[in-house]
């Protein structure tokens, strides 16, 4: 199982709905594995409200570079209904590049699993919930 995809979750302040579905995705897809502390992740999942304040943490978490950063859920995609836009979304293109985003509140687990696989395999088409 050496080629399992190591998934790291960075929670910026979510309600836990996305985390429940992420955990379910990790149970549904045997090729996905929660990344252990200190290991290099193959993909980073970003959940919760993205703000200018926590943007730096999101950028720091994807070090070393080139790790796809997939936004999961409405809060990470559009700040949801929690905060007035503060400019953080303008930084998304440089932060996330062409990595897929999974919409929904929360997204369903198989869409998350598929997005992770898309993020690490550029040949496959983008998906959303």
């Amino acid at each position: 199982m050496a080629d399992r995809v190591k998934v790291k979750v960075v929670n910026l302040g979510s309600c836990n709905g996305c985390e429940l579905e992420i955990l379910d995705a990790l149970h549904l897809d045997p090729d996905l594995l929660l990344c252990r502390e200190g290991d290099r992740p193959d993909v980073v999942l970003l959940t919760g409200v993205l703000t200018m304040t926590n943007l730096a943490r999101a950028e720091r978490e994807r070090i070393p570079g080139d790790v796809p950063l997939v936004r999961v859920g409405s809060c990470a995609i559009s700040q949801g209904l929690f905060l007035p836009p503060d400019g953080a979304l303008d930084r998304v293109p440089s932060l996330c590049g062409k990595a897929p985003a999974v919409c929904g509140c929360p997204p369903v687990s198989n869409a998350i699993a598929e997005a992770v696989n898309v993020a690490v395999d550029k040949e496959r088409p983008c998906v959303s919930a």
Binding site: V9, L12, S14, C15, N16, E19, D24, H27, F82, P106
Partner: protein
């Protein structure tokens, strides 16, 4: 020997930092749990941007993904108290069913994490499969397996038609078979590791709050029994109590509550009261304030609501059960080896989404 300080950070399923002060042998002498979340301040958000109580429900539901029914229920009931209306019996039954299914869902989530950290991987997988089964029942009853969107001011959003009831009953029977396989499973698979670990005792005082953590430490308190709401006054409510206060006692209380909740849901679905599922006319706006406490899966969840003369929310304060459990975690970690710290914390089922969301 000089003590040292350790900070551990965890992301899934909860985001928290555990600040530990340990002896050279790794035994914890002081412990503090700290969340690291963007504060969503749902109470302030509702009172400033989503003041219509009907719209506010959508926001209140997102205080927490694991106990959204508890939050929308407490908020709806508080608003209904201000309005002076009584919810139809059938709606109360559907609300009760959803609340008890949510308790099963939340407990299974905690038990699954506890099993994983105790090294019982097979048990963790089995518990997760059971979690998937309870979410199937929730989907049959409410239409969704996370954030159910079932409550509205004055009742529930939709009825349970016969075909949905059949689907829910079938999924519930499947869940019941899985729950039967879980009897005494922690005792068998990890009893020697969990017994006597992370003890939280009353030690001659009243433990703060309610919930499974307190009930595993000898406190009989449960909001459903102390201040019955919905149909709890008429249901055969059993409250499991342990006195050991250790990790095994906390898992045992939750395992017993799974069966009790399952039985309540089964009884309610087999004899749903007839009638409407929401009040057609809520009357005009009415100013006032009210509080409502419900027994969420983790303990007492209280919403204090103030409505203005035009019927909008002027203020909302939410008090979540994790506030009470944080004290327990800090005390239970003393004397535990730092390698077991995460397991002890998991057994308390902290919800820093609730804590950071309010």
């Amino acid at each position: 020997m000089s003590p040292r300080e350790v900070t551990l950070q965890f992301e899934v399923p909860e985001v928290y930092r555990l600040h530990l002060r340990t002896g050279m042998d790794g035994t914890i002498r002081e412990a503090r749990v700290e969340g690291e979340l963007a504060s969503r301040e749902v109470g302030r958000l509702v009172a400033s941007r989503y003041r219509d109580p009907h719209k506010a429900l959508y926001v209140v539901e997102r205080v927490c993904g694991a106990c959204s029914q508890a939050h929308t229920l407490a908020f709806s009931c508080a608003v209904e108290r201000v309005l002076g209306v009584s919810v139809p019996m059938r709606a109360q039954a559907i609300r009760t069913v959803t609340a008890e299914l949510e308790r099963i869902q939340s407990h299974l989530l905690t038990l699954s994490e506890t099993a994983a950290l105790a090294g019982a991987r097979g048990l963790e997988q089995e518990l997760w499969r059971t979690w998937q089964k309870v979410t199937a029942v929730l989907a049959a009853v409410t239409g969704s397996r996370v954030h159910y969107g079932i409550n509205c001011i004055g009742g529930v959003v939709h009825d349970l038609p016969p075909e949905a009831l059949r689907a829910a009953s079938g999924a519930l029977a499947d869940l019941g078979r899985s729950l039967g396989d879980l009897d005494g499973v922690f005792e068998r698979e990890a009893g020697s590791r969990l017994r006597g670990l992370g003890v939280w005792k009353a030690a001659g005082r009243d433990l703060p709050g309610t919930g499974p953590n307190q009930r595993a430490s000898g406190s009989p308190r449960d909001v459903r029994a102390e201040r019955p709401y919905l149909l709890y006054a008429d249901l055969p409510l059993m409250i499991p109590i342990r006195t050991e206060g250790d990790v095994l006692a906390r898992t045992s209380v939750r395992l017993e509550e799974l069966h009790i909740s399952h039985r309540m849901v089964k009884d309610l679905l087999s004899a749903l009261p007839e009638g409407e599922v929401r009040i057609a006319d809520l009357g005009g706006p009415r100013p006032g304030s009210a509080s409502m406490s419900v027994e969420a899966p983790r303990g007492e969840d209280r919403h204090d609501v103030v409505l203005s003369a035009d019927g909008e929310v002027d203020a909302l304060a939410i008090r979540v059960p994790t506030e009470d459990s944080l004290l327990g975690v800090s005390e239970a970690l003393i004397g535990v080896h730092e390698e077991d710290a995460r397991l002890v914390v998991a057994s308390f089922d902290l919800c820093l989404s609730c804590f950071g969301g309010t």
